[in-house]
Symmetry: C2
Subunit: 340 residues, 2 copies
DNA sequence: TGAAATAATGTAAGCGCTTACAGTAACCGC
DNA sequence: GCGGTTACTGTAAGCGCTTACATTATTTCA
């Protein structure tokens, strides 16, 4: 086995500066005093040699990777840009790099999760990208984890950060009922097993109930929080002769709302005159849709930032658990029928 | 120094299976034959022990990280979601993990790039996130690099993948001139030093010239391909008494176009009746804006996929260079004044 | 049937760092 | 002026893997 091509190592630096590698290492990591004279020499030599510590070697010896992992269910939704951005900022500021991967608990049995103890110092786990068993195993090993957009499974005291779904949805649907006199509100379910999805449905139902409207399973479609799927679901629904079966749509999230609006328009509905449409998330673009979308603002970038912050805390042994529930806020625009 | 908490190592597997660690390693990496009998035993033992090779140790010994790095200038634009998604898919399929970081060549002098030879096997470099010197240094060391949305500096034969900007812009602006009789077309420059920005300006100018319209520096603002900046730039411009100075806007990209539309609407302009607005990129949402945005479709996810593919090729020593120039296509919608 | 190739495995030397342990020299307080 | 600190530095043992080299058993083929 020969030396790594050209790479300059800590030995080169040590020799050039006339000190031992231990001193170099200590200076780099600032974990022991070094005489100012030596420090200066090292600064100079390291700059000259353009020395960069080899990450793997450092990881192996120190048992730290300097990496935090982000496990996502997918990436092709605009929802993720601010999430990742918030996380990346926070991580970068604290000297960590971000490893991003998609995975879904469905894949269980086959491939193991691509991120874990073996390659990161801690994990940010979005929604149901990991099974409860995976979480339990990792947590038992003392591995730092923060959940995003989901709460911990029973008896696993994992920190988590998510947003308030139910009451916001309740008020949103209530707005449809009270202000716009809607009675047959179509609901597009999000991904099954996803908490946001569950609580939004709960909020939807509780609003109906609070106003004496009976829940109708026939008015529930699967939107999966995805534009394309929502679009198809609605087309299918209309094709089945339900043209007049509804007077409003709560699309589950904004991405699905876009699909809904699209399908509706293609079928000649006017929004909001014929059908009101509301979403959830307040994506960056939702204010610019036609008509501007009434929705619920979820502070997604903040979710990312706080989740990263809590994980960083864990990495410094500031133990912490419990759920950070970020408040959401109804944003009334025109797609519900309000005239702003 | 004590043993790493609980982690199971290759030694545990070897002992449990009654073979040497070399055999285990060879089996894991499939780089030498192993008797079927031993193979079965190893499968069983590894599953039982839930063994996962320690990444850092593997990296150190093999001099491969299994990581590809993506260097971005920022992340808070919806443009990046499909880019990253395309890359992540491709990388994941080939067993690589994705390390994402933001950096900008402006930071030169101070911090070195967070990604490089020391922690990845290869780099995807977006636009001007790295200086030419950084690129040169890395390339001299034989480090695999693929450029995204920029071409290589002179005499550096780096592979790159980007999109056609100039002629699409030319045709887009020409459309404004010919079909909609626009004569005073405001242009919002993208980030300085960014190639997309340069070529779009070139296309804008060449269209003006081709139709006998003199280029007017007073009709150029700085939009930086960012909604907020474009929004502010336009407000400033209007505040300076330029209310009637223009009859159309080429915003540089869709994100900036959104800012422009917003500012314009707030000042009471009707789009496209009073002012036509066009962008570039065709973000997922552009079709849903009000009015739907006339723009140029850039195959961003494909850019990501191909860039990743080419980098993966490099990692397998399939040498390749040259620029992949993906075609773009004008998408006519209503913001230009067309009546669809 | 014997020499050479091939298959399957083991031994042990690193990969480039960190850090426990040890040591020397200067300093401090009384 | 002496025990106890404190400041700084070096030596060397790993961290958990990969792989060159060596070894033995089994085939292959002239």
């Amino acid at each position: 086995m020969t030396r790594r091509s050209n790479a300059v190592t800590i030995y080169d630096v040590a020799k050039q500066a006339g000190v031992s590698v231990a001193t170099v290492s200590r200076y780099i990591n600032r974990n022991a005093p070094v005489s100012t004279e030596v420090a200066e020499r090292l600064d100079r030599v390291m700059a000259e040699l353009k020395y960069l510590p080899h990450a793997a070697a450092r990881h192996l010896a120190s048992r730290k990777t300097g990496l935090i992992g982000l496990l996502l269910t997918n990436m092709h939704n605009d929802f993720f840009a601010p999430l990742v951005s918030g996380i990346e900022q926070m991580a970068g500021q604290h000297g960590y790099n971000l490893l991003v991967a998609t995975y879904h608990s469905d894949s269980r049995g086959s491939v193991p999760p691509p991120l874990g103890t073996h390659n990161t110092d801690g994990l940010l786990v979005f929604a149901d990208s990991l099974t409860d068993e995976d979480l339990a195993r990792l947590h038992e090993g003392g591995f730092p984890i923060v959940l995003i957009h989901r709460t911990p499974p029973a008896s696993l005291p994992l920190p988590s950060v998510t947003v308030e779904n139910k009451s916001a949805t309740h008020r949103l649907v209530e707005h449809l009922i009270l202000q716009h006199n809607k009675k047959r509100i179509l609901f597009l379910r999000g991904p099954i097993h996803q908490e946001d999805s569950y609580w939004r449905e709960t909020g939807y139902r509780s609003a109906l109930e609070a106003h004496g409207i009976e829940f109708d399973e026939g008015l529930v479609l699967v939107g999966d929080f995805e534009r394309e799927i929502a679009y198809n679901a609605l087309n299918q629904f209309l094709a089945n002769g339900n043209r007049d079966a509804f007077d409003a749509v709560f699309a589950g999230d904004d991405d699905a709302a876009i699909g809904v609006i699209n399908a509706l328009k293609e079928h000649g509905y006017r929004i909001p005159e014929d059908v009101a449409v509301v979403g959830f998330d307040d994506l960056q673009i939702s204010a610019f849709l036609s008509p501007p979308l009434t929705t619920v603002r979820a502070p997604t970038e903040t979710v990312g930032r706080i989740a990263a912050e809590r994980l960083l805390g864990l990495l410094n042994n500031d133990i912490s658990y419990g759920t950070t529930l970020l408040p959401t806020e109804i944003i009334i625009r025109r797609s519900c029928g309000c005239d702003l």
